[in-house]
């Protein structure tokens, strides 16, 4: 009788386009007929804005601050195509403990059996940046999410953050934690960026789920408070997100990644730096590297 709830966590460096990607993924999955919840795990609490015409919703932790007994339903709002939107919320910058905030918020919903009650097909956690402390690892621990996808551009700082996340996943992989589904390559506009990501996933034994180009359509939709799926459903970019959703829907087997060690990462980045300089000055090194 009970269908299989698929729980996914989307991680990535701050500002890399996690919330944009996540919201478009949620919207595309909802369009496919699934019952979806998007759970923002970032104290900024803006993960679900584009699912709700650019508006903010009260967060779980806001509600907990107001009163001791919170009915989880009060923190659940519906957005585009009946997607359930929840924001964990958290402290103001520079105070308190955002990590504990995530633990508290996730526990509240789990204890009240909300996922079962809403008969969901998908819960998608949109988690802030690096796994900076224990709290941020909650969605990948204790069997909460089964699959983790990381959003990364070809920017090296984003890749470092992804590599760090892989370390977290590797750490919890033996204890029934979530495994890595793959990388969502974001802002990929040049072939060399694609090569950098391809090289990285190859070395860390994972895969690219989708290459998402940088697009003005995304910005236009977001400025009107919408996802691309909602704001520009006929656009090429929307088709890219729909394909991502289809692949994630079909995805079943996640794996333990093989993160690079500090020295490996440094050497790997340095080798790419040399290649990028060569590209910049137009040096032709051979068929493969020729851009």
């Amino acid at each position: 009788m009970s269908k299989q709830l698929k729980q996914i966590a989307i991680y990535g460096k701050g500002g890399i386009g996690k919330s944009t990607t996540t919201s478009n993924l949620s919207a595309a999955l909802a369009d496919m007929g699934y019952r979806v919840m998007q759970f923002g795990c970032d104290p900024k609490a803006d993960s679900t804005n584009t699912l709700r015409d650019g508006t903010y919703i009260p967060t779980v932790l806001d509600l907990l601050r107001e009163k001791k007994q919170v009915d989880a339903h009060e923190a659940i709002f519906t957005g585009y195509n009946s997607i359930y939107c929840v924001e964990a919320g958290g402290p103001a910058p520079g105070v308190g403990c955002a990590g504990r905030g995530i633990i508290t918020a996730v526990q509240l919903l789990k204890q009240q059996r909300i996922f079962e009650e809403l008969d969901l097909d998908y819960v998608i956690y949109d988690v802030l940046g690096d796994v900076v402390c224990g709290g941020f690892a909650v969605p990948i621990r204790e069997g909460i999410a089964q699959h983790v996808f990381t959003v990364s551009s070809a920017d090296f700082m984003a890749i470092y953050a992804a590599n760090n996340l892989f370390k977290g996943i590797q750490k919890y992989s033996n204890a029934g934690g979530a495994l890595l589904g793959g990388v969502i390559a974001n802002s990929i506009s040049h072939p060399f960026q694609r090569e950098i990501i391809d090289d990285f996933v190859c070395r860390t034994k994972t895969q690219v789920m989708q290459y998402v180009p940088r697009s003005i359509t995304v910005t236009q939709s977001e400025l009107s408070g919408k996802t691309t799926i909602e704001g520009a459903p006929e656009s090429e970019q929307a088709a890219v997100y729909r394909e991502l959703a289809r692949r994630i829907d079909e995805h079943t087997d996640s794996k333990t990644p093989a993160p690079l060690g500090p020295e490996q990462l440094k050497n790997w980045a340095a080798s790419w730096a040399d290649q990028l300089v060569a590209i910049e000055i137009g040096e032709v090194r051979g068929e493969k590297e020729a851009i």
């Binding site: 001791k68 007994q69 919170v70 403990c97 990590g99 504990r100 633990i103 526990q107 789990k110 204890q111 009240q112 059996r113 402390c133 224990g134 709290g135 941020f136 690892a137 909650v138 621990r141 204790e142 919890y172 033996n174 204890a175 029934g176 934690g177």
Partner: protein, 500 residues
């Protein structure tokens, strides 16, 4: 709907699960009425003194498991008071037939500045291995603390990994003090973990009589309790069953097969609510729906409910008849001797209600009570098991009920004001205020001691003895210095309770 959800590692705290409060002032009947109507609100204190911590209550339920050891995962200070359970275990062991109580082993991972920065997972894993090497326990319990909770250590993951590596259950108990102001949430944390990780799933077999499957049972009744006299087995033997005491003095094995008991009973609703509820909703073991047997009417209702549950109502009637004959004349004598006496009670929620019932039975006028918290609901959805409602129904209302989590400034003010002939308490340290004010005070820690017909007699006789021997408290009061000022003693005792 039941708020018991064993699929998540941490228990939902009482404030959320049961709407539990720690601030109230009024009559018992008002408290009962507001609890039933769902209109009971918390009155916060703008000033408070001490509070207990959930981690200690969680420890209480697992340090006393005979073949287990406990690791406190936190700074060493969080386990500083846990040695008291070693004492409790030792002195109460003979009452449960344990002739040679083994030492209690309580460890701390001693989290330091380093681990709060770099994470305590590895230290916890190493501690579990070390503890296993030293003690080879049947089961290892880990109780969390605020520090490990805030840094988000993966206690559940580490415990599961260690269990697989060592081949013994390693049980993570989430009882961080900051999660709840109601320290009894710590009991629930331990029960939750035990129900998730130790209790065997119920087994079913085909019942040819009905053609359906039925739960495999043993002739046992779970007794969710603390420690103290074995009042239950003499009753249970008459029904052909034995007591399976949970969780103090239990063993890994007896915890495991608690799912095969015929029923569960509680010595105290606030203590046993969660385990009783979990055994019922998750394992199919019914919980007895009657307030615990304190005072004659409650004892009779309880025995009859047990008789009905075990399908031997005639045995219950026999016991009632015999015990009435044995005790009622003496209870009547005690009543006449104690007539006109006034008493004040301070205890935890459930047992406080029990003491108020005993006072009612003995004809002593209860002039008030300071009870540590109040649960308007229980975890098995049985309003008929409410002890305070039973007390009010059987013996009438009680004035001056204060829900007060050991706020001594309030207690002293009230005692000074109502000036009872007697103070009854259950917790160590609570009678000293009575004594300093010259009020004869009686502290009985053994919850079972006052149960049944005989319990009424024992309490009555002890109270008479305490009242007759008041020289000590009278002299002490002459020399005691009250640390509270006249100003405070002249204030209304609930001055710091917010107005609703």
């Amino acid at each position: 709907m039941s708020n018991i959800n064993l699929s998540v590692p941490a228990v939902a705290v009482r404030e959320i699960r049961l709407n539990t409060i720690t601030g109230f002032a009024g009559n018992a009947s008002e408290l009962v009425q507001q609890s039933c109507s769902g209109g009971l609100g918390e009155r916060r204190r703008s000033f408070t003194q001490c509070l207990g911590c959930s981690t200690s209550n969680a420890a209480c339920k697992v340090v006393l498991v005979q073949d287990g050891v406990v690791i406190s995962h936190g700074p060493v200070g969080c386990s500083a008071c846990l040695h008291e359970f070693a004492f409790t275990y030792r002195v109460n062991a003979p009452l449960r037939g344990i002739e040679k109580p083994t030492p209690r082993h309580v460890y701390s991972t001693n989290l330091t500045e380093d681990e709060t920065v770099f994470g305590g997972n590895e230290k916890l894993a190493a501690t579990i291995r070390e503890v296993f090497e030293r003690d080879h326990p049947a089961v290892i319990f880990i109780i969390t603390t605020c520090a490990s909770g805030i840094i988000g250590d993966d206690v559940e993951g580490i415990a599961d990994e260690a269990a697989e590596e060592l081949g013994v259950p390693v049980v993570a108990i989430f009882c961080e003090g900051f999660r709840s102001k109601v320290w009894t949430s710590g009991f629930d944390a331990s029960y939750h973990a035990i129900a998730r990780k130790l209790i065997n799933p119920s087994r079913f077999e085909h019942d040819p009589a009905t053609g359906t499957s039925k739960r495999v049972t043993r002739p046992l009744v779970n007794v969710v309790n603390f420690w103290g006299s074995d009042i239950f087995n003499p009753w249970f033997e008459r029904f052909g069953v034995r007591a399976n005491y949970l969780t103090p003095y239990a063993t890994l094995e007896s915890l495991r097969y608690s799912s095969e008991a015929l029923a569960s009973v509680q010595v105290c609703l606030t203590l046993g609510s969660y385990l009783g509820g979990a055994l019922e909703s998750e394992f199919g073991v019914p919980t007895l729906r009657a307030a615990p047997p304190y005072g004659v009417p409650a004892t009779e209702r309880w025995l009859r409910a047990l008789g009905a549950l075990l399908e031997k109502p005639e045995v219950a009637e026999q016991i009632i008849e015999e015990e009435r004959a044995a005790s009622l004349p003496r209870i009547a004598e005690l009543r006449s001797q104690l007539q006109g006496t006034t008493a004040y009670v301070t205890a935890g929620a459930g047992h406080g209600h029990a003491l108020l019932a005993l006072l009612g039975e003995l004809g002593i006028q209860a002039v008030g009570a300071a009870l540590f918290h109040h649960d308007p609901l229980n975890d098995f959805d049985a309003p008929e098991a409410d002890q305070l409602a039973a007390r009010v129904g059987d013996y009438g209302d009680v004035p001056n009920i204060s829900i007060c989590n050991k706020q001594e400034f309030e207690l002293v003010n009230v005692l000074n004001r109502v000036s009872p002939d007697l103070l009854l308490a259950r917790h160590g340290g609570m009678t000293l205020w009575g004594a300093k004010l010259g009020i004869p005070s009686l502290l009985i820690g053994d919850e079972q001691w006052g149960m049944g017909f005989e319990g009424v007699v024992k309490y009555g006789e002890s109270i008479l003895e305490v009242l007759e021997n008041d020289e000590f408290v009278t002299n002490l009061a002459k020399h005691a210095i009250n640390p509270y000022t006249q100003w405070w003693l002249s204030q209304e005792p609930y001055r710091f309770l917010e107005v609703e």
